[in-house]
Structure formats: C-alpha cells, structure tokens
C-alpha cells in the first residue's frame, strides 16, 4: 500500500519518505500533510526525498510528486529530486518541461444574461446569412439545371433515385396499407350506424389521394432520406470532402445538393401514387373483410368518388414536399459541426426541420386549394 512519512530535519529540510506499492488501483495519496508543513511559520527551505523502501510505482506517485512540485514552486521552496529513482526523476522533468502557454487554459465561466442575448443574436444573424447564401446558391444551381448546364454526375443521380425510390417501397407499402386499414376501420364503425358502409370507399379513396398519400410518404421520407442526406453531407464536411469539392471548383449546391433534391422531387410523386394505391387496397381489405362489400363494388365506388384532380393535387404536393425534405436535409448536413455527435445532431434536426416545413406547406396547400376551389 501507499506509505508517505514526513520528517522535519533540524536544518530546515523536509524529508518525504515514500514507501510501499504506489499503484493507481490503491488510489491517490493526498498532499495535505506536506502542504500544511509548508504553510507553517518556520517554513522549510528545501524538500528532499527518500525512496529506499519504494516498491512498484506508476502514475499515482507521479501525480503526488507533481502536486508537491507545484506547492513548492508557489512558495519558493527548493525541491531536491536527487533522492528519486532515475525514471521518476526523468518523468517529473518531462511533466514540468513544457510551461503552460499563456492564455491556453479555457475560461469556464457562466456568461451573463446580456452576453447570452448578444451571442444568440449574433448566432442568429450568422445563421440567416448562411441560409440566404444557401438559398442563393440553390437558385443559381436550379437556373443552371433549367439551362441544362448544371454539373453533377448522372451516375450519382441514378444511385440516389434508386436509394430514395425503389429502396423505400417496402416501408411505404407497410405504412400506407396500415393507414388505409385504419381510415377504413374508423369510418366503417361510424358509417355502419347509418347503413352507409359503402361510403367507406369514398372516404378512404379521397383521403388517401388528396392528403394522406402525400403526407405519409413525406413523413417517411423525412425520417428515411432527409436524415440520410444530413448524415452523409455532415460526415463529408467533417472529413473535409466538401472543402475538396469547393477547391476543385465544384459548387457544392450544384454538385451534391441538386441531384439529391432532384432525385427526391422525381421519386416522391411516384411513391405517393404507390401509397395512394396501397392505401386504397388497405381500405378495400376492410371493406371486403368486415363490411361484406364485394371487390367490384368497392373499386367502382372508389373510382366514382376519386377525381383526377384530387390525385393530381396530391402528386403535386408530394413533389413540393420532396423538394423541401431534400433541401432541409442537405442544408442541415452542410451546417453540421465538426464532431461525430454534431453529425448525429444534424441528422436529428434534418428530420425535425423537414417535418416542420412539410406541415407548414400542408397548411398553405389546404388554404390555397380551398380558395381556388380545387
């Protein structure tokens, strides 16, 4: 075990005897006794060590000695390390060799109320500036796209289309079938009271094509693809890949963001159409299984109720949602910080941001469609 003994010799020398096994698993020795000795009125002028009975040692003795050295320096007491084993002497020299650079230590203090407001405002202004420049870059990229002069790799685009289109089908199938079933079930329970079971088909058909198909696929893609875009671009930022693109003369907006937005804008309406279809099938499953309607009746009733305009409106909305989700995801990724957890945070905020803009857009569409009588 750790043994420290202090011996005050007559000629003002404080002798510290170190003995026993100094290992981290036995804990650390306290320097209180040494310091109280140093604080006495008749302060010793020199500290010496006796390590004849010292056994194994590791960092724990070094921590103790470093603390003694600091205490000595503060009080101007001489330290005679000749009594230490050579290795320990060397390590102590190494630990003390580099002086702390002036101003290196971080000040860990609470900032005041006004200071925090100031910091937040400055942060907000910077964020707005960054957002505006991103929107500007994206506008330029879109103009380039329309002029057929945008630079991005076609293979990137097809890979992205595959990843956010085909590979999303299973989850879209599952969720939209479930939404169709739930809509049908809830309305069936209500409508049966009036003997109006047949109208379950109308309700499911119109709800899926007008709103639910687009909204559900948007929410799925926000979680699935928006987050992936943010994580991907965030990691590229951490590993300086984005810098490599910029210095090579590629616009990040054009080369990385544009194909992602394009892929999702192209795929979202298709996914939405598919979701509409699967949702109607889910409704039909309830209609046929629970309400004793025949498949033919259900399909005919759906075809009568759903107008082309409803479906087209839903598809248009889903294209807009796709653009919003992809942009929000990329934007969050590009603004990520430089650590692994910053990438995670970027993915999280990409999903949250996508949801918010999708819901906001949904509200705007509802108002517009109502005013326009669509």
């Amino acid at each position: 075990m750790i043994q420290v003994a202090i011996d005050r010799a007559e000629n003002d020398v404080l002798l510290i005897r170190l003995a026993g096994q100094w290992e981290l698993r036995h804990g650390l020795a306290s320097t209180d006794a040494v310091e109280s000795e140093l604080n006495q009125k008749r302060r010793p002028s020199r500290i010496a060590f006796d390590t004849r009975e010292l056994g194994r040692w590791d960092t724990s003795i070094l921590v103790f000695l470093a603390a003694v050295v600091d205490a000595c320096r503060e009080r101007g007491v001489m330290l005679d390390s000749a009594g230490l084993p050579a290795g320990l002497h060397n390590l102590l020299g190494l630990a003390e060799a580099v002086r702390e650079p002036a101003g290196a230590r971080k000040e860990l203090r609470e900032s005041g109320f006004l200071e925090r407001i100031g910091e937040h405002s400055l942060g907000l202004i910077a964020a707005v500036e960054e957002t505006l420049s991103f929107i500007g870059n994206m506008t330029v990229a879109c103009v380039q796209l329309v002029r057929m002069r945008a630079r991005y790799r076609a293979s990137d685009l097809s890979l992205l289309i595959q990843r956010c289109g085909v590979e999303a089908l299973p989850i879209v199938t599952l969720i939209s079938f479930l939404v169709g079933v739930i809509l049908a079930f809830i309305s069936a329970v209500q409508l049966r009271q009036f003997g109006a079971q047949l109208y379950v088909a109308d309700l499911v058909g119109v709800a899926m094509t007008r709103e639910m198909g687009a909204l559900m696929s948007a929410i799925l893609m926000a979680g699935r693809t928006g987050a992936a875009f943010a994580a991907e671009l965030g990691t590229m930022k951490v590993t300086q890949e984005l810098d490599a693109f910029t210095t090579a003369g590629f616009s990040v907006a054009e080369y990385l963001v544009l194909p992602r937005v394009l892929a999702l804008v192209l795929m979202m309406p298709l996914l939405c159409l598919y979701a509409d279809f699967v949702g109607v099938i889910g409704g039909a499953a309830i209609g046929v299984g629970m309400l004793d309607l025949s498949w033919t009746t259900y399909v005919q009733e759906t075809a009568r109720a759903v107008r082309l305009g409803d479906t087209a409106g839903g598809l248009f909305k889903s294209a807009v949602y796709g653009a919003l989700i992809a942009t929000a995801g990329c934007w969050r990724g590009l603004r990520a910080g430089s650590s692994a957890s910053d990438v995670g945070r970027a993915a999280t905020s990409a999903v949250v941001t996508s949801m918010i803009v999708v819901v906001a857009a949904c509200g705007v569409f509802a108002f517009l469609f109502y005013e326009l009588g669509l």
């Binding site: 190494l94 060799a97 580099v98 650590s339």
Partner: protein, 255 residues
Amino acid sequence: MATAGGATPYISVRDLTMVYGSHVLMRDMTFSVNQGDVFVIMGASGSGKSTLLRHLIGLNEPAHGSIYYRAENFTSADSSQRERILRNVGILFQGGALWSAMTLSENVGLLLEEYTDLTPAQIRQVASLKLALVGLRGFEDYYPSEISGGMQKRAGLARAMALDPDILFFDEPSAGLDPISARRLDELILQLRDSLGITAVVVSHDLASIFAIGTNSIYLDVSSQAITASGPPAELLARTEDSTLRSFLTRGGNP
C-alpha cells in the same frame, strides 16, 4: 530471429498469415517483440504494416497462425481474456482517434473512470498529469477539433498511456507531424521506455525515426509477401544484401 540475448519475448507471433478479402497480404510471419524493445514494423505503403498492427491488437483475425502475449495465446482467447490482456496495452492510432464529443481531459479520464476507483477530482488530476507529460499542460478543457493535428496526436498518446500500459502500439507516429514535432515524439517514446520500462511497437516508414528509436525491426516485403529481414535497423542497413530493403533504407539511394 535476431533477439537480444536473454531478453524475454512480450509478444510472439507464429506463422501468421494475413488476408485482405481474398487477397493474401503476408504469409507465415514469425517474430517476437522483447520486453523493453522499440520494435519497428517497416515496409512500403500497402505492405500490410497497419494491418499487422490491427492483428496484434485483435481488430483483425488472422487467417492462419497465432499471436501470444507472454505465454497466453491471444488468438484463441475468449473476449474476456482478450480484454484483460489488452488492459495492459495502449494504442496510438494514426490520426489520434480522439473521441470528438469529449474534451481532452475526458478522453484520458474515461478509461480511468471505467477501470479504477478514483474520484472525479482525482481522475482529473491524473488526466492533467498525463497531458502535461505529452506537453499539453493547460489544454484539459479543449475539444479535439479545437487543437492542431500534432496536438491531437500527443493527446492520443496521453490517452493511450492512461492506464499505465506495459506496451504501447504506435501507428505511423510521425505521419502528419513537422520534423521537430516528430522528433519530440520519438524522444518521448524513448523517455517513456527508459523511465517506465514500456515496450513499444511502432509502424513506420519514416527513416529518420526508424533509425533514431528502433532497437529491433522487421521488414515486410510486398513482392514476396513475407518478412525478408529482421534485426536492429542500423545493423540491417550495414549488412543487408537485399536490394529492395537497401533501397528502402536509403530512400532509393545508392543500391
């Protein structure tokens, strides 16, 4: 194998064959690292130096052969035995591999928190000392992204030393460092060996560093997929007949 007389092997590698996918990197490697050695693994880029290091610390599994730590078979050990063996091992990864979400002090302190009974204040004290040893006094509360590459590397070394390991692995310690910092790191490795009796295994192709610190070495030859030379680097330079190795040790100069 050239072994210093009477020294005990800390790591023995027997008939190790490494593969990458279906491609064989090196065949039938046999060598041992002695206690107190600064053992250099040399070789051209792509010869499998870093892969060998990953095998030694159990990140990759050998296709054939085994690795012994003292008398214990590391290759056939189960995960708890491996964990116990690796407790005495410190690793400095090429880029430092610091945990980016933690401050330097937390990076060093995490291991202490997990494997010792020290109080948080004591852990911080130990972490500060370790950082002081690598010349980072005062940088305890910095995040890895806020300091330079060379400092990250030194902080990585402080973390590798957190639990006072018997053996330290260095993957390209001088990569990305300026010559003076690289030399300081070399000196630090030697000082740690002399003061604490640490054994060091260094993967390197930095000649200055190899000759300055290496007490023993092996050379991995790409074309023959085998160890073609072993021994102290300076001695190898003096006596080798192999033109590839000679050219490697003289930066392609006088064959």
